[in-house]
Amino acid sequence: MFSIEFLLNALVAGILLGGFYAAMSAGLSLSFGLLDVVNIAHPAFIIFGSYLTYYVNEHFGFDPILAGLVFAVPSYFLGVAVYKIYYNSFEKTGAESLRGLVFFFGLFFLIEVILIITYGVDYRLVRAFYIGKSTSIGSVGIAYRLFVPFLVGGILAAVLYLFLTKTFFGRAIMGVAQDSLAVQLMGVDPIRIKTVAFGIGIATAVIAGSLLIIIGPVEPTIGREYIGRVFAVTVLGGLGSMTGTLVGGLILGVAESFTSSFFGPSWALAVSFGILLICLAVRPSGLFGR
Amino acid sequence: MSDNLLDVHGVTKRFGGFSALTRVDLHVKENERFGLIGPNGSGKTTMINCISGALANDEGNIVFAGRDITRIPAYQRTRLGISRSFQIPKPFVSMTVLENLCIPLEYAAHQHSHGVELRGEAMEILELMSMADKADVRTGGLTQIELRKLELARAMAAKPKLLISDEAMAGLSDTELDDILEILVRLNEQGLTIIMIEHIMRAVMNFSERIVVLDAGEKIAEGTPDEIVNNKDVERAYLGA
């Protein structure tokens, strides 16, 4: 009953979704994977990005992707500010990251409140010329609504990968959580490194937010649905590895798509989280973990 | 059956494709002072990890006091009487120095009578190691050297039959080294078997009755300190000219 064409379409849909998951998780892979900052509020920042995008799209007709990229800049500074608070209250005093976790949960709720107060609790959506259109390559259909996020996600992961592995700054980011005194001894200011890295993480979250609202409607508390997914992708890929994040996102996306296509969508989440569990049991440090 | 306390037969340990130990045999007699030396990365710590159960060896078997312990978990080995210090100190950071010692005392030395008064016993060991003044300090306030001494003290607190000291003396001055050696010798006289891993030749050579030399995961020599010092292979691989 299911043809090759059907299989290919399921695969492509999964890959597209996976690229988007990678975009959502890339920033977390930075903050959580490399800085050891368990930023559970990451999805809330994503939703925050969705609303910023919504705002300029609704009122000025801004293209969502463009909006995401533009807002990435001020969000970077927002990230910097959040990290300053986090640093002064937790890292500086040597409090373990667990305490920071509660801080970020609190932040999560605060961001939700701010969004609820400013935008209400209703669903919001954006318009763009590519939403609702699709093309096909042979018999494989590709919706631009998903292709654009996939593309941006892939580029984001690639840029971060190059940044981390090929630049001095990036390597310092990779080392800073492992031994911050040693980083100082390399002539690097660890706080600056972490602040910048965290800021970049938030900036990517905001970009991911613009992608999210392209894919579907968003309401202030929808971020909660993505906590599990973004952490799953980050861990599945191996903390701090951008290649891993991309692959982790793709695995999750394809697993969801295949389960939806062949067994029924109600098992999709169970299957993808099952994969995560199995992966953790077999290779605890994730696929590309160190 | 041998009268050895510890028999290591053909132990192999691989990390990925890299073989850190290749079919190594070790035989340590009851109440022996045994030295294990070798260049950096030759597999000494790996060997200790296999003996203490921190790592599972891929091949071979390990017999302690007549019992095959190859597959039993580390904590049972400790209770059977194998106790080791860690080359890279691993203190219990939320506890004071004294409380650090109470853990092995409670779990290994007096395993059937939990809750006995342990502090006195712990204090004795600290005094022996001349660390009594640090008893109530949390381990975060200790120096590397003090942490190493704590490692040794904690290993002693398990009241083992076999004590394995993995570079516990690195960085000590000669006087301190002599103090510790004296303690170890005294413990040995009381019946304790000791395996010492150390790069400080003065310590190993003076202390050990018998020495095994590892190189690149293989045993290259075995003998008395004199034999080892005069062994050409050892000189080439380890001691240098």
Binding site: S3, D122, A143, G216, P217, S261 | -
Partner: protein, 397 residues
């Protein structure tokens, strides 16, 4: 004295989802109830006593509901209670109403009283006496009338209370009307980001009819994905929540054309119930300030109606006696802003009046598009019909 006056107030207590998944609709419902309160108080209140609403946010969490109603009854000492929005949030309060023998007006519970069979529970959503089945009857009646008669049906539902029940009813109707079910799956809700693979699987079965039970986020995703993969069943829709919301309508625009979905109210000439337009005018004035659905055709009229009905019953019986009011509501036909209401078995409407609306002639994304007649065309039931079904779906697209 102010305290004496306060004592004379009639306090109506309830929990309402003001945050969480049902928050958007819940907030709009609250506004409607406040408009009713102001209307009543402007006319001098109920039996001369001013009405006061006492309410708390249940955050769309059933676990909060028992505590809230206990607070309302034992601490705030309210005179009447009505339900929050949605089955999940009604059921936890029902036994409390039952224990105290109070009249309990329900706002959009689907068969909430099935287990309790409490005779003073009255539910305002016009699902019908056998709510789960009656809910989708219209969709199937329409389908059965088409020539050539459609043969196969695909069912898809979000994995949560309302959608599952709607589709469960559709399943039974499919059997009854003799359609072959070729696809019948649920998708996780919340938790589904993309519907493309699901709809492709549906498309692979090539169904004549496609009945969907979904919530707003999912409904949008399903409509978009259906267009992207060119899924074209002959009749498409049924139980999709959210297509009635203005923001979503404005976003989907032309994509909505041809979809046939359940509906409660639309600005069609057949649905001009007494008072509805005055109510909507007030609502539409206030809604933008509160960032609520600007048109408010979906839930607000019913939220107004369920307290309106209670108020009318109090006035009619000239009493605050719960049993008397309950009996009155049970035994009479009531005129409300949503039309004539008569309750039957289990406090549900005695006869089903769920409209099927087909979206037609939508040409833009402007809000004005959706406040005009002729866009949300009532195609079922006969009595309220305002236009003809365009069949098959692809033709109406």
């Amino acid at each position: 004295t102010p305290s004496a006056q306060a004592a004379k107030e009639v306090k109506i207590g309830f929990s309402m989802a003001l945050t969480g998944p049902l928050g958007p609709a819940g907030k709009a419902a609250l506004l409607a109830m406040q408009i009713w309160r102001d209307d009543v108080n402007a006319k001098g209140g109920l039996l001369g006593r001013k009405v006061k609403l006492v309410y708390y946010d249940d955050q769309t969490k059933p676990a909060n509901v028992p505590g809230i109603y206990a607070k309302l009854l034992d601490v705030d000492k309210v005179d009447f209670i009505v339900s929050g929005y949605g089955t999940n949030l009604i059921v936890p309060a029902l036994p409390i109403a039952m224990e105290r023998g109070m009249v309990f007006m329900g706002l959009f519970g689907l068969d909430a009283n099935a287990k309790f069979k409490y005779n003073n529970y009255f539910q305002i959503m016009p699902a019908g006496p056998d709510p789960i089945v009656d809910w989708s009857v219209g969709f199937f009646e329409l389908a059965a009338k088409q020539k050539p008669r459609p043969k196969t049906i695909a069912l898809l539902s979000a994995d949560a209370e309302f959608a599952r029940n709607a589709v469960a009813g559709a399943r039974r109707n499919a059997k009854k009307y003799g359609f072959k079910i070729v696809y019948d799956k649920r998708y996780p809700f919340p938790g589904t980001s993309d519907f493309t693979p699901i709809l492709r699987a549906v498309k692979a079965t090539n169904p004549d009819l496609f009945y969907v039970g979904s919530y707003p986020g999912g409904s949008v995703g399903i409509v978009k994905a259906a267009h992207e993969i060119k899924l074209e069943p002959k009749l498409f829709g049924g139980g999709m929540v959210g297509l009635q919301y203005t923001a979503i309508q404005m976003n989907l625009g032309k994509l909505l054309n041809g979809i046939t979905d359940y509906w409660f109210w639309a600005p069609e000439k057949t649905l001009k119930f007494p008072g509805i337009e005055a109510f909507l005018a007030k609502y539409q004035k206030e809604a933008p300030k509160q960032k609520l659905d600007p048109l408010g055709y979906y839930l607000p009229p019913f939220a107004y109606a369920y307290v309106q009905l209670l108020g009318n019953a109090i006035e009619a019986t000239k009493s605050f006696d719960q049993a008397k009011i309950g009996a009155y509501i049970r035994n009479n036909t009531h005129s409300t802003v949503v039309g004539k209401v008569k309750f039957g078995k289990n406090g549900e409407w005695a006869t089903s009046r769920t409209f099927q609306v087909q979206l037609q002639n939508i040409t833009s994304n402007k809000m004005s598009e959706f406040s005009k007649a002729g866009k949300m065309v009532v195609v079922y039931p006969e009595e309220f019909k305002s236009g003809e079904l365009i069949y098959p779906y692809a033709k109406g697209k």
